[in-house]
């Protein structure tokens, strides 16, 4: 490369780095304010005013949050629910995504569109019938099952994995079938290892979504000890004022498991298993 191209390339990289850092700054600010507000002194206040640098940092908001009798139990509940839902989706949504992506069978498109179109109906409409079904008919009020069961597989995840898996080379699957693998074998032995990045992404998305979900768990739980962390945080709002400090402390603590999940899964996001298997 000529000297000029080298300089241009370096300038380009520098500019892109600058742009990225700027964007990072903008994106991360809200998170920073949330965390910094959790160290502010002062109790129940009427308005929320984050500061750049906290004047007298204190752990008092954390103490207030943990003083709630069930705050740790809330964490446990959220972990169970988000964890179970992520687990079931990993197993079943991946199978369905694969089927829609790579297998041919009668009704494939029709079924897929049926699933997809129900996602497009606003949730308000199905709220009451679902509530009647799960609470009244099935009698599952205030249980983990009620919070988990409508989400065992989500169409969004099936769609995601369908898209991801559709670009996997079919040649490998044919090779597997020729070798005598059953369909399930092809799936577990060939597809899954190749889909780890997609599965990891789905896992983190699902976990985060159901960690943050508020209204459904709020609706179906009736006792304090079954609440999830998000529902519990809502309790810090009083009629005229809110304990913002404790709420931010709780939210910051609530964000930590997800940071952990992200960092443990993120090695799968990177370069997928090199498809060196196709050549030769």
């Amino acid at each position: 490369m000529g000297a000029r191209t080298r300089i241009l390339a370096r300038a380009g990289r520098g500019a892109s780095m600058l742009f990225l850092l700027l964007w990072v700054f903008l994106t991360i600010l809200p998170l920073y304010w949330m965390a910094s507000s959790s160290f502010r002194p002062g109790g129940v206040t009427v308005s929320f005013k984050p500061e750049w640098v906290v004047a007298n940092p204190t752990l008092d908001p954390y103490r207030r949050f943990l003083a709630q009798p069930y705050s740790l139990r809330w964490f446990l509940n959220s972990i169970v629910i988000a964890g179970v839902i992520t687990g079931t989706n990993l197993v079943f949504a991946s199978m369905a995504g694969y089927a829609f992506a790579k297998l041919q069978f009668p009704g494939r498109n029709a079924i897929f569109w049926m699933l997809l179109s129900t996602m497009m109906i606003p949730g308000e409409v199905t709220l009451i019938p679902l509530y009647i079904l799960i609470i009244n008919v099935m009698g599952l009020g205030n249980t983990y099952l009620a919070m988990v069961i409508p989400f065992i597989t989500t169409v969004s995840n099936i769609f995601l994995l369908k898209q991801y898996m559709s670009s996997l080379p079919s040649a490998l699957m044919d090779a597997g079938r020729i070798d005598g693998c059953s369909e399930l074998g092809v799936f577990f032995r060939i597809i899954v290892p190749m889909s780890l990045p997609g599965l990891a992404v789905m896992a983190i998305f699902t976990f985060v979504t159901f960690w943050n979900i508020f209204f459904w768990p709020f609706l179906v739980t009736t006792t304090d000890d079954m609440r999830t962390i998000q529902v519990g945080l809502a309790l810090f709002r009083y009629a005229q004022a809110t304990d913002y400090g404790a709420m931010m402390a709780g939210s910051t603590l609530a964000a930590i498991p997800m940071f952990l999940m992200f960092f443990s899964l993120q090695k799968y996001f990177l370069q997928g298993i090199t498809i060196g298997a196709v050549k030769g």
Partner: protein
């Protein structure tokens, strides 16, 4: 191998799912003469959960066969949760809130008054009970009567030479208000602006208050007349527009969050504020105490409760209503005895010693037993005691309208005078244009 890993994964998933059959605690013991009453309520006052704990043993002593299943909802979305449960046929027995005809319309709201003894019902003050009636029957047992008025900064008023005692006694007209509030518009030494009136306007409460005090006490009358179509409503918008234009109300009013008006009051930056409720007096006292103790920094301010300004020549009213416990049945009826029990509980929670919550909210007890128990004990500052009683006595009793009309009234507000008012505050609509929108909305929604 990977198959093993996934089999393991699904095994774990299913074990977890089976374990998920675990139920939460709080299942009531079922026994012959025993009854369980479910209560959904809110943090009515700071520490209401502790208060309920205090009342539980007293209740258990009085009614040993009734056990309680209490759920405290969050203000955020609590109403939506109740709405879903109600419309699914599964509401709690007792629910805390305001009477609303949409509850009646579901057919699941019970006239709680009919399940009480004459002595119990007689304990409530008649004028408050009137606010709880539909078609002559009592549907809500009030815990307190809320009072919405205006509020003022005592020290700023005194400095400006405004006699708040006189205003509290005699009321004030819109012109007088403009004059006094105008005295509150100046720049402070540190550069901050001081305002005449800071009001949270997103909920259209200002328009409603002003209309109430200019001869149009409610949007729609039971016979279908739309009061807000009256040309006098244009004057409401003109008044609001004047307040914005003369700088009495800050130009940021349109996008202001509810807590912000409070913040400015704390920071001693406004002469008047709205809406003002008696409880703000206590909040202010608590805050001043914290400032004295050194835990917060800031100017000390004192809250004065003031009547809503009334239009020259019109009668003055306060905004008020009852909040308390309502009785519901589930889709599957449960027998009169059960509802009598629930009513008894609701009565206990709103009278006698339970009136403590009302006192803490700086509101007057609504029962004679409550008044006796808390005679002379209230948290109001001396300059607000008489005024609160006086203002409570001029609360307007809304004439009840049919459920169909109530829905239209809500639509009229949401798509008519509320957005029009927002437009006036934002400076985007002239009072005439705003009024025209109101008329257009009324014609569209209330076509006979």
């Amino acid at each position: 191998m990977f198959a093993k890993r996934f089999l393991l994964c699904s095994l774990i998933a299913w074990t977890a799912v089976c374990g998920a059959f675990a139920r939460g605690s709080g299942e009531p013991a079922a026994s012959a003469a025993k009854d369980t009453v479910t209560i959904w309520t809110y943090p009515v006052v700071n520490g209401y959960d502790a208060e309920l704990e205090r009342l539980k043993p007293l209740l258990a002593a009085k009614y040993p066969n009734i056990s309680l299943d209490i759920q405290i909802l969050a203000w955020a979305d609590g109403a939506k949760k109740f709405d879903v449960a109600l419309n699914a046929g599964n509401p709690p027995d007792i629910y805390f809130g305001q009477p609303n005809s949409k509850y009646l319309d579901t057919g699941l709201a019970l006239a709680v008054g009919e399940y009480l003894t004459a002595e119990e019902i007689g304990d409530y003050y008649e004028n408050v009970l009137e606010l709880c009636k539909f078609e002559g029957k009592v549907y809500l047992l009030p815990m307190y009567e809320f009072l919405h008025c205006f509020g003022g900064n005592k020290d700023q008023m005194e400095k400006a030479g405004i006699d708040y005692v006189k205003i509290q006694k005699e009321g004030w007209t819109w012109e007088q208000f403009k004059e006094y509030a105008g005295k509150g518009v100046y720049a402070k030494p540190n550069g901050d602006k001081n305002y005449g009136l800071v009001y949270y306007t997103q909920g259209a409460e200002l328009e409603a208050m002003l209309a109430l005090n200019s001869g149009m006490p409610q949007a729609v009358l039971p016979d279908g007349t739309v009061m807000y179509k009256n040309p006098n409503f244009k004057d409401v918008y003109s008044f609001m527009s004047d307040l914005m234009k003369t700088g009495i109300m800050p130009k940021e009013t349109a996008g202001m969050a509810a807590g912000l008006r409070w913040q400015w009051f704390y920071e001693d930056r406004t002469m008047f504020m709205g809406k003002g409720i008696p409880y703000f007096d206590k909040m202010q006292q608590d805050r001043n105490a914290q400032i004295d103790a050194g835990t917060i920094k800031g100017p000390k301010t004192n809250f004065v409760i003031l009547p809503i300004p009334h239009k020259q020549g019109e009668k003055a009213y306060s905004v008020g209503g009852a909040e308390g416990y309502m009785l519901f049945r589930q889709k599957k009826a449960q027998g009169i005895e059960h509802y009598r029990n629930a009513a008894k509980i609701a009565y206990f929670l709103t009278s006698g010693t339970a009136s403590k919550s009302a006192i803490e909210l700086c509101l007057l007890p609504v029962t004679k037993s409550g008044a006796r128990e808390f005679e002379g004990k209230d948290f109001l500052s001396p300059w607000n005691k008489e005024a609160t009683k006086a203002l409570a006595s001029i609360v307007y009793e809304k004439k009840v309208i049919s459920p169909e009309l109530a829905v239209q009234e809500a639509q009229f507000k949401n798509s008519g005078w509320m957005p029009a008012g927002q437009g006036v505050i934002a400076g985007e609509l002239t009072p005439d244009a705003a009024y025209a929108k109101v008329v257009e909305a009324a014609d569209r929604i209330f076509k006979k």
